[in-house]
Amino acid sequence: MTGDKNNMPKLTNPDELKKLREMAIAEISARHECTYRIIIGLGTCGIAAGGRKIMEAAMEEIARCGLKDVSIETTGCIGMCQNEPLMDIVRPGEPRVTYGN
C-alpha cells in the first residue's frame, strides 16, 4: 500500500517541487480521466495467451517513461481469440487501433 510518505526530504527550490509534482501526478494517474487509453484483452482467451504479461510490460514502460496521461484498462473477450494477446490503443480524434499477437 503506497502512501507512507513521512520520510520526504526537504525541498529547497521550486524546480524540485515541479519535478515532484510531475512524478506524483503520474503515480495517481489511474484516478484521473486520462487522454490516452490502453485496453488489454483479459478474457479467458486473453489470459490464456499471456495478456497479463503484456499488461505488466505496458505498466513497466509507463512507469519507466513517467507518463501521466495514460490509463490501462482491461476488457473481456472481443471475439478475435486467435489473435490474443490483444492490446488496443485509443487516442483522441483517432479510431481505436488494435494490436494482435
Binding site: 500500500m1 502512501g3 510518505k5 513521512n6 521550486p14 512524478m23 503515480e27 505498466m59 484498462e73 482491461t74
Partner: protein
C-alpha cells in the same frame, strides 16, 4: 515510480472506520496478494467522501465504480470479481448507480455532480497522509509564487 493499472480507494473517514473499513483494507490486501495482483492494484485509504450513511465506501479507478455498505466478505468478492475478472459487483453499487443504464463514474453520480467542492475538493480522492498526493493535486503551488 510504480505504475498501477487500478487504484482501490477505501474511505478512512470516521463513519467508515467505525463501520469496519480498516478490516476491509486488510481483506483487500490479503486477497489481492492471494490472486497475484499486487503489482497491478494499489489500495489507498482516503479521507471522508461525505456520504456517510452509505459507508463503508470503496471506489475503484479508473472505472470510478462506487461501492457502498461494503463488508469484509464483500471485499473478497470485489477482488475475485471486479479486480480479477473485470465484472462489476452490481449488488454493492450505490443505489443511484443502479437506476442508470450504464454504471456511472463516481464524478457523474447525482450526489456528487451537484456539488462544487472547493476546500474539500481532494476528500475521498487522495490519501490525506501523503504529501506526494497533495502535491500532485497542486499542493504548495502558492510557494512558487513567492
Amino acid at each position: 515510480m510504480a505504475c498501477f493499472r487500478s487504484h482501490v480507494l477505501v474511505c478512512g473517514g470516521t463513519g467508515c472506520i467505525s463501520g469496519g473499513s480498516a478490516q476491509i483494507i486488510e481483506t483487500l490486501l490479503k486477497n489481492i496478494k492471494a490472486n497475484f495482483l499486487e503489482k497491478e492494484i494499489d489500495v489507498i485509504q482516503t479521507g471522508c467522501h461525505g456520504m456517510c450513511e452509505a459507508g463503508p465506501i470503496v471506489v475503484i479507478y479508473p472505472e470510478g465504480t462506487f461501492y457502498t455498505h461494503v463488508n469484509t466478505e464483500d471485499a473478497k468478492e470485489i477482488v475475485a470479481e471486479h479486480l480479477l475478472k473485470g465484472r462489476i459487483v452490481k449488488r454493492l453499487l450505490q443505489k443511484e448507480s443502479l437506476t442508470a443504464q450504464m454504471v456511472p463514474h463516481y464524478r457523474d453520480l447525482p450526489f456528487y455532480r451537484k456539488q462544487v467542492r472547493i476546500a474539500l475538493r481532494n476528500c475521498g480522492y487522495i490519501n490525506p497522509d501523503s504529501l506526494d498526493e497533495y502535491i500532485a493535486m497542486d499542493g504548495y503551488q502558492a510557494w512558487l509564487k513567492l
